[in-house]
Amino acid sequence: MFEVLKPGLETCIQDYPGRVGAFGMGFPPSGPLDHWSFRLANILVGNSPGQPALECQFIGPSLCFKKSNIIAICGSDMQPTLDGKNVPLWESIQVHSGQVLELKSAIRGARSYIAFSGGGIDVPEFLGSCSTFVLGQCGGFEGRPIKKGDIISSDKNESNSRSGLRIMENCRPIIAKNRQWKINVCAGPNDDWIDEYSYKTFLSSDWKVSPKSNRVGFRLEGPEWTFSDKATNKAPENGSDPSNTIDHGYPIGAVNLCGQTPIVLLNDTLTLGGFINPFTVPSSEFWKFGQSQPSDIYNFNLVSVEEAQAEAKFISQLCKEDSMEFTK
């Protein structure tokens, strides 16, 4: 159990994989953007990888513990301290009642995850998940980011977790120092609405992350798009812009083209709309959005669906106990 002294910037409770099965009711899945770091934080404290934990974004919170607990912080470096003393990332840490954990601004990456032993944060499920959906005002803690004075329960179950465990370096995501990211992407569903030139341009250009990027979607700035006959010569009910189509379901990861602006739809997306999705970013790459900042550069790399699935399985394999070592 802990009390929120400072909330940070929209710090929210998330679980993994979030609300599954609710797209048809208009709910996106939510859940952590960097689900790799998120899962590693959970296994460090002896939880299963998907248990509810905190997602801190750009500026972390300050928390005062009301009970002893084992915690772990993974992902972005927000210079965490416990009672003013630096504490490491990627390690399980013992905290005691009355101690204060303080996270500051991210010095690399953008999102940091704090996991708590004993099954993680204890909040009621909404549509089968504890993930916060801020726009929908549901899930998590009262359907909103945490705020000053909240007292949040986090130790429902007995736990035999211990401090002094660490995620081995080769099992962690590596946050790009040069702020340039290679991002795998699969073609489709609407890759035949753009022309060959645009297809190649998308895969060979630098795409800059716009400041108007968040958990709903990441807007990218880059070259002009050009279209195929399918986009320019279509039934009028599709809409007037080449990028318009009859409303269709939006999968998360879709590179959604609104006019000339591509928006990668993420965990809190609208579930349907009338713009085409020429490419889709697979789940193995989502952590990169979670850890990128405005003005970072993306280069997209075409992979097959099978390659994308193999990569996701590889990351899931790393989110297991074998990835931990003792610090001493």
Partner: protein, 289 residues
């Protein structure tokens, strides 16, 4: 146009899209909802979710349990099993929704847009006019004279996209350009061939013709109807708008507030696509209410 066989495309590593045709003819939605209904019974192991729309369904799957290619094969079999769209019989509730047409709040939204963004006619007048109706009173009669088919529940939580079923009540209208920056909660909008209801206040592009006093979703799950399911409507429901006056609107709002409102839903009917289409042809689209 309906495709001879549906088009399948992957969307990343754990979604696939099935598309039945490339226009917005309602047959394509019937197929999408027919397939969705079968998938919801859990007939394909590994399918996690379905997101149907006008002419397509996005299927989320667990690639640890089924490969993309096997998923496509299984979906193909299901679509073949449906056969002709006219044979489809779907579970379809009728949901009666009270509606205050031509209300003051949506009138305010339109006026505000007119003053701040772009001059425009009062939406109900505009929609009546371009559909060759006498006036906004006839628009209300026409709009409330039909069941509205719920094509999809989507975009934001609980938001229905609907199509009029009675050809005598078909309306068409261009959407706002540029869109509104603000729409009041519960506004009834029409745009293209569709009707929608704003379940969250915010931007929008549909022409506003009225407002409803009841919630279509409730994250707090206060009322008993939202206990099991947080949204009121399902795809393949039929919505019937019941015109009410301001006094009744306020009365219903109070009953929603104190939890005593009785939602009016009938759930004993099935919807036969074949029977519907035969009937629609018989009434024709020339007559108006």
């Amino acid at each position: 146009m309906k495709f001879d066989t549906p088009n399948f495309s992957p969307c990343g590593d754990h979604f696939a899209m099935v598309q039945f045709g490339d226009d917005a003819s309602i047959d394509l939605n019937f197929m999408a909802l027919g397939l969705t209904a079968i998938l919801k019974e859990g007939v394909i192991d590994g399918v996690l979710d379905t997101n149907p729309s006008y002419n397509s369904v996005v299927v989320e799957y667990d690639f640890d349990r089924i490969t993309y290619l096997d998923l496509v094969k299984e979906l193909q079999k299901l679509v073949e099993g449906i056969g002709s769209v006219d044979k489809l019989i779907l579970d379809s509730r009728v949901v009666y929704i009270p509606a205050l047409y031509l209300d003051s709040e949506t009138r305010w939204c339109i006026k505000d847009y007119s003053e701040k963004i772009k001059q425009r006619e009062y939406d109900p007048k505009f929609v009546a006019h371009i559909n060759s109706l006498t006036d906004e009173k006839q628009l209300v009669r026409v709009h409330s004279g039909t069941e509205h088919w719920v094509v999809a529940v989507c975009s934001t939580p609980g938001l229905p996209l609907m199509r009029a079923l009675d050809p005598r009540c078909f309306l068409t209208s261009p959407k706002y350009n540029p869109p509104r920056t603000w729409t009041t909660l519960g506004a009834i909008g029409v745009g293209g061939l569709s009707t929608s209801i704003y379940t969250t206040p915010g931007p929008g592009g549909y022409n506003l013709i009225g407002r409803i006093p009841i919630p279509l979703w409730d994250p707090k799950q206060k009322h008993a109807i939202f206990k099991d399911k947080v949204v009121l409507l399902n795809a393949a429901d039929r919505v019937k708008f019941m015109p009410i006056d301001l006094e009744e609107f306020e009365y219903i709002e109070k009953r929603i507030e104190d939890g005593s409102y009785e939602f009016n839903i009938t759930a004993y009917q099935k919807f036969s696509v074949g029977a519907y289409k035969r009937w629609a042809v018989s009434v024709g689209s020339k007559a108006r209410f």
